[in-house]
Amino acid sequence: MILALLLITLLILASAAVAMVLRNLIHSALLLVLSWCGIAAFYLWAGAEFVAFAQILVYVGAISMVVLFAVLLTRPARDAELSVPAVTVLRVAAGLMAAGMVASILGLAVLTTRFSGAATRAPQLTVKDLGALLAGPHAAALLVTGVILTVALLGAVLIAAPAPAPRPEDHS
């Protein structure tokens, strides 16, 4: 059990870290998909079946597609990539330091806290219970989420839709 968790942890962290370092965007996106699959495996391990499948459906089925599409639609021009220097060392160092500090603070907090009542058995939660929860106490939140999704979809279409064709004098 703990061995499986360790393996999953390794998979998630390694693929995410490598994905964030790679230069090839397609490779990073595909590795991130692997990481997301690892997270779904973690949910399965924890007994949250429904969430795991939803995670795969949303992340692997939808978000990864959109990301890959965005990568393909935004190929950087060759000369632009060469002329501008890549991310500066200072920036990288600062970013890594910030992330490291966050990681150490969080890790220390986790390691020093004593959690009460470590359950050994996964709580039983059937899909039916989940549906009752979503449609009962959390119905308002569900509706709001639906509205957010709709608005986000429309907004995304509006933002990404091509602007009306520029007039001839706009071309330089």
Binding site: M20, Y43, A98
Partner: protein, 102 residues
């Protein structure tokens, strides 16, 4: 080390990886993906506490479901923004997106 601690450390590590990517990488898409990773790290926490709290409440799972929906919305809008920026700047490096007027 209890499994719960390991789960929390995993989520902490994932969060840091996402944060590091968002801070260091110049590519807008990778920054977005870093933010997604941070969201996922938060979800991991919810599930871990739900699994090991031992209580009857299932709020953790429900919250993760909402969080997934919001993450999908965030990705859609974020990538649409990236494409819009690319259309103006012909680049998706965040350092290049310095002009307010397209």
């Amino acid at each position: 080390m209890t499994p719960l601690t390991l789960c929390l450390l995993l989520s902490c590590g994932l969060f840091s990886v996402g944060l590091a990517a968002a801070l260091t990488r110049g590519n807008a898409i990778l920054v977005l993906l870093g933010v997604e990773l941070m969201l996922n790290a938060a979800n991991l926490n919810f599930i871990a506490f739900w699994r090991f709290s031992g209580g009857p409440a299932s709020t953790g799972v429900v919250f993760v479901l909402f969080s997934l929906a919001v993450a999908a919305a965030e990705a859609a809008v974020g990538l649409a923004l990236v494409i819009a920026v690319y259309r103006h700047q012909q680049s998706i490096r965040l350092q290049d997106a310095v002009r307010l007027k397209g």
